[in-house]
């Protein structure tokens, strides 16, 4: 167990050392969440000033939505970009012939993802508080549940993307940027599921995010916790994560058969 944790730390340390001396990488992590927050924050402020009452609450929901959806996006990007860093530095050959187990590699990727997500969201959270008087922590302890559920969703999306990298090599790296953004319409971040066409609603309900954001709006607007929505999100996360792990393990094994681990960066 101690050796296993040390191997995970070895991979985490590799990325901590990288970020410690690379300010452009640190800026990149925080850039998009901050930009998104500024755009949506000013939009929300405009509506709040023009129409008092429900629009103020709606503005709060917009800002909370931006911040929380960024948890999923940053969580996913944290895993996939940490893996891509190994491909770009042509280091995967050394990593895969070390005693690092695939599960330990996943553990390291998820740990780096948590660090990247916290670093990425910190400036946006501060800006939301001082510029728009929105305190995300005002939601209370349920915020932690939202955070965890959305982070886990980002992780299983990321594991599916890494599986695609095993299958198609670095040529699939554009997917690391696009797949989670593509889920945004059915994640129902800024509108209820009922706003979608009827045929698209089952797709939305199959994503944990749609339930989490319903729960977020309930928490903001009526100050109650929608446990049924959070329970559904947690159950869906378990199902999707199990599926992602099966796909990851299968593609890793297939890559070892095809020799793709040797040529993954080409």
């Amino acid at each position: 167990m101690k050796a296993s944790l040390r191997r995970v730390w070895g991979m985490v340390y590799r990325h901590v050392a990288l970020y410690r001396r690379s300010w452009p990488r640190l800026v990149e992590i925080a850039y998009w969440p901050t930009l998104e927050l500024l755009i949506w924050g000013f939009t929300a402020s405009f509506f709040a000033h023009a129409h008092a009452g429900p629009a103020v609450l709606g503005g709060g929901a917009l800002i909370a939505g931006v911040l929380l959806w960024e948890v999923t996006l940053r969580g996913q990007l944290g895993v996939t970009f940490t893996f891509l860093e190994e491909i770009w530095s042509r280091n995967l050959g050394h990593v895969f012939v070390s005693p690092l187990r695939p599960g330990e590699m996943i553990g390291a990727l998820l740990t780096v993802s948590i660090l990247r997500t916290l670093i990425g969201l910190f400036p946006a959270t501060i800006i939301a508080y001082f510029l728009y008087s929105f305190n995300i922590f005002g939601m209370g302890a349920v915020l932690l549940l939202f955070f965890i559920l959305l982070l886990v969703m980002g992780w299983w999306i990321a594991l599916l993307i890494v599986s695609l990298l095993f299958r198609y090599g670095a040529g699939a790296e554009a997917l690391a940027w696009t797949i989670a953004f593509g889920v945004t319409p059915v994640a129902c971040v800024f509108y209820p599921v009922t706003a979608l066409p009827v045929w698209l609603q089952p797709v939305a309900l199959a994503t944990p995010a749609a339930h989490i954001f319903e729960g977020m709006r309930t928490a903001l607007l009526s100050h109650t916790i929608a446990w049924n929505q959070l329970g559904a999100a947690a159950a869906l996360n378990v199902v999707w994560m199990a599926l992602a792990i099966v796909v990851f393990a299968g593609q890793f094994r297939a890559a070892r058969i095809r020799g793709a681990l040797i040529s993954i960066g080409e």
């Binding site: 070895g10 690379s22 050959g93 012939v97 005693p99 187990r101 094994r253 020799g259 040797i262």
Partner: protein, 244 residues
């Protein structure tokens, strides 16, 4: 117990027979040279020994561990170096050695890095970024990484490729010393025939995925009636009746 035992190893992929039913043993403390032209199957063989590639058929046992079932136990006691696989260029030399020290669960890591820095003449390079080093310096760092866990088996893919004669000789001297002092078994793939003659007890000549001849460098030179291993290599590479 041998360090490596390979039995009827075969790899077929992309419709091609990359390694065709090869068998060999590497005794503890021995040095075997894996020779052959490009596409002979050397890299595929090394990849299977390292667990990067699953064999189509055959068996690999390393230090008594079956690589199909227990590869991580074997990998902890092996290491690998190749100029074609880089270390992270944006990390300093000491950070790279720390990363691999943790991955191999090396005890007293700071002391071990200090020993390697002395041994491989890396003291002044430790704070420098790996990406800023010359080819020779990178090779020394990669070799230090490959010795970090005091491996029982070392797999080397062209360890002196593109090095100047002085650095190449430094590397060969280091390998001889490790082999003598630590009893490290070494499997060496190289196109440098003088290096193979100097370092290897035994040579496997590969062509089209098969081992077409084997023996000590002296035996091979005498069998082909040649003056050195390079001429033997050319005889085998250019004779269409061998292998295929």
């Amino acid at each position: 117990m041998n360090a490596i035992e390979v039995t009827n190893l075969t790899k077929r992929y992309a419709g091609m027979l990359a390694v065709d039913d090869i068998s060999f043993c590497l005794p503890r403390g021995g040095v075997i040279g894996l020779l052959g032209g490009n596409g002979a199957g050397k890299t595929t063989t090394i990849s299977m020994l390292l667990g990067l590639l699953v064999p189509t058929a055959g068996r690999i046992t390393i230090l008594g561990h079956d690589m199909a079932r227990d590869r991580f136990a074997a990998l902890a006691r092996m290491n690998f170096s190749s100029p074609y696989i880089a270390l992270p260029s944006r990390l300093s030399v000491i950070e790279n050695l720390r990363v691999y020290g943790h991955l191999y669960d090396v005890p007293n890591l700071a002391q071990r890095i200090d020993e390697l820095a002395t041994q491989f003449n890396l003291k002044t390079l430790l704070p420098r970024l790996a990406g800023e080093l010359s080819a020779g310096q990178k090779t020394r760092v990669a070799l230090a990484k490959s010795f970090i866990n005091r491996p029982d088996i070392l797999l080397l893919d062209e360890p002196t490729a593109s090095l100047d004669p002085d650095t190449g000789d430094f590397v060969r001297t280091m390998l001889e010393r490790e082999r003598t002092e630590q009893k490290t078994a070494i499997l060496l793939a190289s196109h440098n025939m003088a290096e193979v003659e100097r370092l290897c007890d035994h040579v496997l000549m590969m062509k089209a995925g098969k081992i077409v001849d084997r023996g000590t460098p002296g035996e091979l030179i005498s069998r082909y009636g040649r003056e050195d291993l390079e001429q033997v290599f050319l005889d085998i590479a250019r004779n269409p009746e061998i292998a295929a």
